[in-house]
Symmetry: C2
Subunit: 340 residues, 2 copies
């Protein structure tokens, strides 16, 4: 029998807590018997929510944490002061090897700070990047980095490229993933100072399949598997991707409902359309992992529903089963070109 | 009778040249008798194309230019060496006050270089920004800058904010346009070094209506009228906006055609849907002006059709009629806080 994978879920994080994290955990343990979920949060609240469900009782355990980190709190202060918050308690369990991963739909800033300061970084990683999967025409691409550490240096981006390649190969199953750097043109001499410095380093790097620059218009076409960029740029891409998809889908729905004839057409077309729209729904792919830590931390959307939490749990399982961290450590410490 | 506005159109620029620029010019003069179009390009080719149409003959004149700047050419070299290209000849007419504006669907890089080196900048502008209109849920927003001058300094962004405000007020007709800076959060302390330095300068600036930071997800909702950013970020936003809109519309069309039932629905819904999609089509809004020059230079999409050229011509007319350059000069030279 394989080893049980242990995952902490922040039961107090996100707009739909505790309902969504609790239901997501229940959904997950109903499907797999080789996982154990720790629901971290205010014990009475979480237990009351959990009591609504039937599930294999030995697979879910409530871990008490009395405090809650709010979305508006300053991340560094929150992590430092709220020692008994669900986030700090859960991350400490990962640090102390009582759990393999931690999932939260709560404050992104606090998740990033906690990941670095509590869980800690693996050797060779100065900046753990946040790396969500973006839906594309033909599947998904990994956008790395879109976290909070802006103004990265070229060496950081090379590390992102290596970590992203491992993730896409072993989690998404893409052999020899194509790595590209976000740029404002495809010629080698194009770009800002950071891109111009990073480009030759990526080109020289033997551990990755570097295919050159990618213009943002090519991202939705799936023109690369690992999309490397500095966090400010990545954050702009991620949020525009999500915002524009939602807006266009809502505008198109509005268009479909604008005349009687189109309403009838919409009723007929809706099932097929829903399937299409679903393929562009980021929640299908779980959450964004914070890579390069001594353990895994996954950030899901603030408005995550149970499905996204469940998918994030399975993402953590795949990460653990495939020993991604071990593979990253080996790759990052093997070569002398370690990040400065 | 009002003064005639004179506009040069690059008849050799873009994927659909000379057909699209020629037809766009014809479309425009058929609608307005107070404009004169100079079609700049290889005289025999342009005249042959023009001969296909009936139009008020005194309103269109062919100006011979024997060379063509190709998309793949190095912009600086191309502008320097091809003295008899449609782009150089047309821009010189603007410089020499023989024309008020120049429109091209050709190389963006060459348009930017030519605009700065041939047409020249107005006092107080170090970096003429490229400022396209983005379609949003409730209209349009001006994205400024998405040109080629990356790694801008804070002072440049303040100038962009002022120029963009004048444009949106007098061309789009928005009183007291809301100015926002692209950021990765809405709190004042968020951002990269450039944004953190620029934020207080925009806040202090009395000539604009600064509303703070904007996250990229809010752009499609029309959360600001003037969206200020550094060119690398702007280029990423513009190209992702265009690429993702096209991809989603094509994916949704594919979804509509995927089953027999949905096909019937699609047939009924299509007229209403087309209208909706049209509202998110950038070509409706003409081209992207390069602001802050001694005259106006407008870049339209490489694949511009006659409609986009015609709309760009009317955009130039509005720019000229509203004396935008005069207003910009006054604002930029009036205050002591001129760009460093």
């Amino acid at each position: 029998m394989p080893e049980t994978i242990r995952i902490c879920v922040d039961a107090m994080g996100g707009d739909n807590a505790p309902a969504a994290p609790v239901q997501g955990a229940v959904d997950a343990v109903r499907l797999r018997n080789d996982i154990k979920i720790f629901l971290v949060g205010q014990e009475d609240v979480v237990s009351a929510e959990l009591a609504k469900y039937e599930y294999p009782n030995d697979q879910i355990e409530v871990v008490n944490a009395t405090e809650i980190i709010e979305m508006a709190e300053h991340p560094v202060n929150a992590i430092r002061k709220k020692k008994d918050s669900s986030m700090v308690v859960g991350m400490k369990m990962v640090r102390d090897k009582q759990a393999d991963a931690f999932i939260s739909a709560g404050s992104t800033g606090a998740t990033l700070v906690g990941g670095q300061t509590i869980v800690g970084r693996i050797p060779g990683v100065k900046r753990p990047p946040l790396a969500p999967l973006l839906p594309t025409e033909n599947g998904v691409s990994l956008l790395i980095d879109c976290g909070a550490n802006v103004d990265a240096r070229p060496g950081h981006l090379v590390t992102f490229a290596k970590m992203g390649s491992i993730y896409m190969k072993h989690i998404v199953g893409i052999e020899n993933p194509r790595v590209a750097i976000v740029n404002i043109g495809t010629e080698e001499e194009k770009g800002n100072a950071l891109v111009k410095e990073t480009y030759p380093l990526l080109k020289e790097c033997k551990d990755i399949n570097f295919v050159g620059s990618i213009e943002s218009r090519e991202i939705p076409h799936g023109a690369a598997d690992v999309i490397v960029c500095e966090a400010f740029t990545g954050n702009v891409i991620l949020k525009l991707y999500e915002g524009l998809s939602q807006t266009l889908i809502s505008v198109i729905k509005g268009g479909l409902m604008s005349t009687l004839k189109s309403k009838i057409g919409a009723a007929l077309a809706l099932p097929a359309l829903k399937k299409t729209i679903k393929s562009f729904d980021a929640s299908t792919y779980g959450g964004a992992p914070l890579l390069g830590l001594n353990g895994l931390v996954v950030k899901t959307h603030g408005n995550s529903k149970n499905t996204e939490i469940k998918n994030a749990i399975f993402q953590c399982v795949a990460f653990s089963e495939n020993q991604i961290n071990q593979k990253m450590k080996e790759l990052l410490t093997a070569d002398d070109g370690a990040e400065e």
